[in-house]
Amino acid sequence: MRQKKVAGIFASLMLAAGVLAGCNSSTSGGGDKDADKGGDIKIGANLELSGGVASYGQSIKEGIDLALEEINKEGVNGKKLKLIPFDNKSEAPEAINGATKLTSQDKVVAIIGAATSGNTKAQIEIAQSNKVPLLTPTGTADDITFKGGKLNDYVFRTCFIDPFQGTVAANFAVNELKAKTAAIFIDSASDYSKGLAASFKELFTKEGGKIVKEEAYVAKDTDFNAQLTNIKGAKPDFVFIPGYYEEVGLIVKQARELGITAPMMGADGWDSPKLIELAGKEALNNTFITNHYSSGDSDPKVQEFVKAFKAKYKDKSPDAFNALGYDSAYFIADAIKRAGSSDSEKIKKALAETDSLDLVTGKMKLDDKHNPIKSAVILEYVNGEQKFKTKVNP
């Protein structure tokens, strides 16, 4: 029942966002058809264009469309890149159908997608057996590229993996906030939360910090006063709360009411407008999150992207999904360029060898598990607005 409910919440949230995103992508869809058909390099996009998490897929596609428009001005190896989109309806079986169609019928050289870890995992088998590189822009689960001690050598991703954000948070707490002691408050029902907490703890204690309190809650709880009172009693300099916005909103509110004034920090799970409604603007002051990207980053590369994106999509400010979609297209284009060929095998090799590729979401390098090593941004909530604070390099 809980799962159904979460899906329902997502569905309704995303539906609203999807409607908006839908208008934009339809205008860009027309542009693709004008591309020269002969001798194009075909790239598949197996994305969630409708269904529960349609806004993820739509946003990624907007980013890819913009990137391809720019790339095709010059072309890659004298050819143009052509995107073959497939709507997997936010369902794993459809994602499998899509991967089969794209590899066997359309004969794409690589597939971008899917947005969620689950729908990406569904395609791994097909990508591996057909030897077509599969690149997920936003699948953060760590077992996508490397599972059971074995590397899925045709599978890649553009985003960093979850535990990395815990490392970034620890780094920020120690170096920027000069925190000596920290408390951790995790969602004990979520692997995401536990993973982040573990990596935070590891680096924070290694840097000489002390974890003075560890408390836990279960998703859907509404009363956190008791645990927060315990945290308050331990007087930490810093509180790490790697959860999702529905609970975090209430936690931050209740913590401030109890008089916990220490800075609090979370990760991309906080990133929702609902968080501000739940916690209140004032309570959110002095809280931070890590994220993949911020449109407020002053880096010229980011600002250039924001400008181009706004020009193409009616002044819409690009979010992390837009940026990761955009970067995924550049990631593949760069590999094709370096491979000097549109042979999937060579592209895969070039993808794996990617080193210091300059992207909107940071300078990227792949490790031996095909996980990107790249920078993360830290955002601060100031009166209910996310302000770009700093960029942390690994």
Binding site: M1, K5, G8, I9, A11, S12, L13, S188, E215, A216, Y217, V218, K220, T222, D223, N225, A226, Q227, T229, N230, K232, G233, E246, G249, L250, K253, E257, L258, G259, K274, E277, L278, G280, K281, E282, A283
Partner: protein, 293 residues
């Protein structure tokens, strides 16, 4: 020490919400011997009515509280008339299963109508500042919850013991048939009980929204079950028992969390239920009454 007092304050705030919901359970049980599992969902509906009164009609807390209580009273009577009245002479289990059905119907009906996404009560609608006594911080909302709960409980005691309808309710709960013979309108009395119980649940919903901010269509399940435990703890059918049970359960939960076992909190609530059923089935305030022949 400060921390312990703070935890007690936390527990009492939570417990007074349980108590408000538990009162409805206990009243309905006392009169028709039915565990009204839809009661937690009336609480949810009350929270939403309060939310829409505040955000759409732009009302203050107290008008919203009154509207929510009135609407829930009506809703409770409707539930009773449509779902429970036809089953009044059926087996107890049939009525119980119907109650579960009504509960699911309200939950998913709400999701059908407005979707499953949560809503947030606007911040800062309580103009009270938090106060600090001996290092213990008590928020304005906690004080409001306590004040509203205590006021409603006193009002309820007054209704039950000092008014004509209260007298009728006590009579019906004691012996329905005899009450009927004495000229008491049993149907109306039962409706009144549902109305009062549901109004209290509606009030609890609004208070919950103000205190915890987040409301959603399935929010009634766990508080509903906890309130049921509270009602049994105090002795189901006994009004002061429901109040004491609610407060006690809130405090127990806060202390369990304070001891560092926050993940066991919900489990402990139900362990309390099991222990009470084993060792004192009539509840803390209950007397072992001989079966009436």
């Amino acid at each position: 020490m400060e921390q312990l007092i703070q935890q007690l304050v936390n527990g009492i705030s939570l417990g007074s919400i349980y108590a408000l919901i538990a009162l409805g359970y206990t009243m309905v049980y006392g009169i028709v011997k039915l565990i009204n599992f839809a009661h937690g969902d009336v609480f949810m509906v009350g929270a939403f009515i309060g939310f829409y009164s505040i955000t759409i009609l732009d009302l203050g807390i107290f008008p919203a509280l009154l509207i929510s209580m009135a609407a829930c009273a009506l809703f409770g009577v409707l539930i009773e008339r449509i779902a429970y009245k036809p089953l009044r002479n059926a087996t107890r289990i049939a009525a119980l299963i119907t109650a579960i059905g009504v509960s699911l119907f309200i939950e998913y009906g709400t999701i059908y109508i407005r979707g499953a996404q949560p809503e947030a009560y606007p911040n800062g609608i309580v103009p009270l500042k938090s106060i600090e006594i001996l290092g213990v911080k008590i928020s304005g909302q906690s004080l409001l919850i306590l004040a509203v709960s205590i006021f409603l409980m006193i009002l309820l005691q007054f209704i039950v013991y000092k008014t004509k309808i209260g007298k009728a309710m006590r009579a019906v709960s004691h012996d329905q048939d005899a009450a009927k013979l004495m000229g008491i309108n049993v149907n109306n009395t039962i409706s009144a009980t549902f109305a009062i119980g549901s109004a209290l649940a509606g009030a609890a919903g609004v208070v919950f929204g103000i205190y915890y901010t987040k409301i959603e269509p399935l929010m009634g399940i766990i508080p509903g079950l906890k309130a049921f435990v509270a009602a049994v703890l105090g002795g189901i059918g006994i009004i002061p028992g429901a109040m004491a049970g609610g407060l006690l359960l809130g405090v127990i939960e806060a202390l369990v969390s304070a001891a560092g076992f926050s993940l066991w909190r919900d489990g402990v609530a139900f362990v309390v239920l099991i222990l009470i059923l084993i060792f004192r089935p009539a509840g803390l305030f209950g007397k072992n009454v001989r079966e009436k022949v």
